[in-house]
Symmetry: D2
Subunit: 450 residues, 4 copies
């Protein structure tokens, strides 16, 4: 772990706790991370970086998926402004162009990148006294929205790793990608298509927890589920429910038929599949036959093919459910991620670094993931261009499950995550060559083969 | 039609159109008619009445049903204030205590009452050029809310009738009841329990349209459907839809099962029934197993018994749907109205008055209604105390069906409605005795038999 | 009641009880009434008639609807043979050509007809001691099939009426139509198209019970529900349910979707509708994805239009249910009956006759029916040709509801039914002229206007 | 492969083809294999064995699961008698006590057993010209029943293996278990509890095909799905579907709700699950509200726990579906099999034997299974008593999938199966010691450790 100044690590915790809790208090949903981006820019400027790309400069806007409607974007934008978000950041992110990319440019050497995600979830955080954010005063201030998957921790880890790399003797280019809208499956693809990912030799992504306890580190993951996010709509015909129900075309009934059909999609011989409709808004009033329905769903598969099988089954079911009840239906794929496995070579490096740390009880090279993550878009892009990529897990004792109101992390584990990632970045740069895939990366062309 | 100054009728239209359009532009849902109440108070003061009871003074607050949650009340309250609602009215109605009762006290004579309803519907008004409110600039300014059932017309008719009665030689007591929350089935019951209904000898209620064309008047209605409004909830357990769907208890599936079961309640040998879930909000995000669902529904029946049969079937179905998917369920009756038929004697009076008017092509004594109306609470109360009551219909050519985005009325028909009602009120007072049911009405005791 | 020898009535009961119980013990489903037809022919020969038309001679075979498959026909045919059915009757009815028509030809006078139905139901008769057929030893010998709608009584009434008319001074032509397959909605249409119905001036049909108690007679019925019987099929693709469920197309799921959709067809503003799937056979084994499903259903409506509305809704739902689960679907209308109301004139005649009988407590001219009956085909045909028709009800205290295992009749009421019908037939012939609709009835042409 | 007289193998095929086709022509469902047992006894007597245990002597009758009702047993029993089944075998098997166990007793040495299954499936065999049984005249003579899973081949392999072992120098005890009712999950448990399985040191079971082509042999299988077969019933209340549908309690609707709920049981994080309702019989007639429903279903899981999770979910869903529609429900587990994996040691032995055979292109030690098999009951019992067990697969090119109308096997592969199994039995006896688990096996006690 040469190069990382471990001596400094002891004074990290205060900053870590402070940062993490600041993020935790202000969760924002995907593409609405206006305040979050502003807070990140403040922190990044305070740390000091060589390049800073905010909003439209960070991700290609036209590649975004699952962007919320204007009303929701506006609500969060105004809320961010009221909470003191910087006007320059607001200008750069207006319209849902959130996210930020920071770069340390240290001359010749490989291009190493770290990707962390930044969005919250529409979960109402627990007010129970046993839930630390509630009892210690950093519960979500945005009622109904919550950092229930640890992205507050991820941003904190990202900032800490940046500081550590900056303090180190790292040579090469270190890019940190703060990606929006992971939960929507909407930010991974544009981030992967961003110019900032071109020419990355080594990509690290990280997640905390995932049922791994404190003291356990997984170098890389395989068997992530491929995922498609879908938006389903039904448009029927409203009618007075008492006077002439027969004149309606009932979007509520179409919804029920679609939901029952969806969960009944046959299990597949070739492996695991998933299907879910997690949100629905139907109709307007008890005494009106519902004219419109909107459903938010997703399908997953152990392979991209299994995901696609499930998605096409769902597409047919939705269409038939509409026809059954005389409603027009729409079926839109609004986000997603392919399956992409971590490179064992890079996973071994991370696991090796972790194994050497006293705080680590168990260091695993590769483990199955079981859920989906649009980091796979970035992994696929980096691997496709000849680079190596890994999606590492740093365990943490989390009392509630991910995506539930009592999810929380052990903040002490964030320091470990920073140390492992920073050491991995350095070791990569020291021991490994630059790799292929540099077309279109003119400015750094001379470096190839260096 | 002695006593009504028909000569004045010709200059009514301007005021009628102006009033109706002012109400039409500012629809508010049940128990949120803050601005509406304020506008009504302005108009009533301008006309001049002997008694004016606003908000808490108009209806007993504790008897209200189907009151929206505080957040919705607050939103509409603030909107009303911003739109210039009077502070005294806001003070009297805060917390959802909307509605107003006005009285003309003209000495001895029967107590005659007219009830009109004042709330709008959660329907998004058409922007189509063929929709007159859109093309002539009085489309709803409250996006997503609309006077799609003619209550704007009813208030206008109420005010016009008051003016006509005031100008007349009417003797007795004339009370006009501006009732909130008819669409929720929530205002009829408290209005019926109000002291202002005690001792009413003759009650008129009125509705425009209902598929009766311009030129048709119905003196009274029978076979209204009894109705119960219900609020259904499911609470399951959220879980990550990809990682461990089996740990969830899926409120989305419970909702689908309940909807399928509800519409499948058997038709009944004894007569017509209805069931509808017109609105549902389920879950939070595509990748979370839905933890909570809220449904707004209603059941109806040709008799109160048939409505209750359907309601109890629905209650059992909802419970079973929850159990099927491991969710807790709740089933709350939040509003409703019994079946109550108009008195033929009073209906004949109205039909007779109408038949004598040149603008009327067809005057019908009694007709079937086919929908529900919580005016039946008032009818039941008045009839129970020995009075007579009728629910009259004044036809109007309405291009779209009730409760749909293109509903509209012929404004010329409002003048007819006013003339017919005013003449009916007068004729009642002239020809008919006071009736029973005066217990508890001490102050007017001497009047009995007068 | 001149002409009917009422004195004889007292010795009828023994024969009535005997006949009714003989029929009751041997119920056969629609188009399988081989033994029943044989028993009827025996009785008719014993009474003595002028014409006897059996099987193919009674109804035009090609017009039959809802004929069971060959296997079922064969099973009942063989069973009839084993039970001693006459070979000449078996020859005349083989292949499901059941039914018999008998004629008394008494010279000039009107053509009067009586229609009774003869089929049983797939209901397993109660073995309870309180069920008289069980305790007195005439319970169904055909396990799983039962005369649960009184057709055993109807045949008995038909034979008794024939005897009474024969004994009387009736002049004209009296035809008795023993119609098969009423429960399937399959026999009424061919019977209506039979040459034996051509030129009928007065048609009587009769039903016992229908919730009318002993002592009540209804002269005619209105508001029968129009009905369509439908046969629905799904053909998917079988697959091993454990190894590769995804390769199947599941007819079981299509069935469930169709059933839930069917019962959810909206109630109609214009009047009562009904929908039912009363029988389903799906798949072959627990561990095979079901490849095929067969469903037997029906729709009804207060008018023919309402029935057709419901049928076309159902057709669309079935198609969509198949598409939802990748199955081919079929939808076949296999039987039915239109709405046709009794003629008040003829109903009054029956009610008048009944009112004069001491055993009758209540004689009603017209009553609503609430169910369906394919006698409406005959009523429509007779009325269309200028004749009069009525569907009368003779009340009887029935402990169980129609179509249930404990249905039974009071046998004493059968004698009343015979007397009322015979007297009605005679009074018709005495007091009423022949009527129109005689095209194609050349042999009796001279009689018109006679 | 010493000891097996491979020279004889060349003249085996004729007998093999003859036997297999004789079985193929007369498939019988589980517990109805009366004729099959008779044919087996004929063959076994012709081969000559030391012990022969038929019917009640072969399996403990009280442990049988999923036994069909008496009517079905009777039908097949009579059919077997008519087809010439031996009266002694009929006497021994009457009432559904089918199956046979044969033993070669060759003195000291290990106890080796081979289990094959003998029942057919309710699948209608293809009549297509490309289906060899159809074109070559050995299609099922029992319409609607078919050997669609190769059990005809299994019996043929069993008999061939017995002959080969008999001809060899095998020392020890060789038991061949012809097990009924595998497809019902009903015969494995009683066979496992039979005294004939006590003290087995080495157990072989075999299946052909399972998507493995001709030339491929799998020594043993793991990851079989645990399975439970269930029988579900609903009892509601019948009513006339037209007159008073509200008086019914609709078993058809309960069935639809149960089916929809069943397929919607959540996928499980821990591994594969399956659920199926493969057969349903509901109601009696189109115009009667269905009173009763019977469903045949199954659940499976990658582990016994996963199967039990799915089963308990299903149990709750069935109960709730009944409650939703006012029906009583029943839920009976009528068969099943746990998960049990093959012993690698024994699988290696089989794979080794196979690899040495020229006809084998690919010999695999262990492979995943993907379906269920109640042989796992025997495997569990043998392993629990200290023995080794394996479930081997001999590949065969099968044109249609298992359980479908065009399933067929390559008969040449049966000779290979016989050779591999016989050689495996011999090699086991030569190289391997007897093993533990001999409590209660007094008569062979002296042999232990021999």
């Amino acid at each position: 772990m040469s190069g990382v100044d471990r001596g400094d690590a002891t004074d990290v915790p205060d900053r870590i706790v402070e940062r993490r809790r600041a993020f935790h208090r202000r969760p924002e949903p995907g593409w609405c991370e206006f305040l979050t981006t502003s807070l990140l820019v403040d922190e990044l400027e305070s740390v000091g970086v060589d390049e800073l790309h905010v909003g439209r400069e960070a991700l290609p806007g036209e590649a975004r998926m699952a962007v919320p409607d204007e009303a929701e974007l506006d609500t969060w934008f105004e809320r961010a402004r009221e909470s003191g978000a910087r006007e320059d950041v607001l200008a750069a992110t207006e319209g849902g162009h959130t996210g930020v990319v920071a770069v340390l440019d240290r001359g010749e050497g490989p291009h190493v990148a770290l990707r962390v995600d930044i969005d919250g979830l529409p979960v109402e955080e627990s007010t129970d006294g046993s839930h630390r954010p509630a009892s210690e005063g950093f519960r979500s201030e945005h009622e109904g929205t919550m950092h229930a998957c640890g992205h507050d921790a991820h941003m904190t880890i990202g900032l800490g790793t940046l500081e550590a790399v900056k303090r180190s003797e790292f040579e090469g280019r270190f890019t940190i990608l703060f990606q929006p809208a992971e939960e929507l499956g909407g930010g991974g693809k544009p981030m992967a298509e961003s110019e900032h990912v071109e020419g990355v030799d080594y990509l690290f992504a990280v997640h905390v927890g995932l049922d791994h306890p404190s003291g356990e580190v997984v170098g890389g993951t395989v068997e992530q589920l491929a995922v498609s996010n879908v938006r389903v709509g039904f448009r029927g015909r409203s009618a007075h429910a008492g006077k002439e129900p027969n004149r309606g075309a009932n979007a509520m009934q179409a919804t029920a038929a679609a939901v029952q059909g969806a969960y009944g999609i046959p299990r597949h011989a070739d492996g695991a599949t998933r299907v879910n409709f997690g949100r629905a808004e139907v109709g307007t009033a008890a005494n009106v036959i519902a004219e419109e329905a909107a459903l938010w769903g997703e399908v997953r598969g152990e392979t991209t093919e299994l995901m696609e099988y499930t998605r096409e089954e769902l597409r047919r079911i939705v269409r038939a459910a509409g026809e059954m009840h005389g409603c027009e239906s729409s079926f839109e794929v609004v986000g997603g991620a392919p399956r992409a496995d971590s490179d064992e070579e890079l996973a071994e490096l991370v696991a090796g670094v972790a194994a050497a740390d006293d705080r680590v009880d168990s260091a695993v090279t590769l483990d199955a993931f079981g859920a989906s993550e649009d980091a796979t878009h970035l992994i696929e892009t980096v691997q496709g261009a000849g680079g190596l990529a890994t999606y590492a897990i740093v365990g943490t004792d989390h009392p509630g499950a991910h995506h539930t109101p009592t999810f929380d992390v052990e903040e002490a584990d964030l320091a470990l995550a920073i140390d492992v990632l920073a050491a991995s970045v350095l070791q990569t740069a020291e021991e490994r060559p630059e790799r292929g895939g540099r077309e279109g990366d003119d400015e750094r062309e001379g470096v190839v083969g260096g």
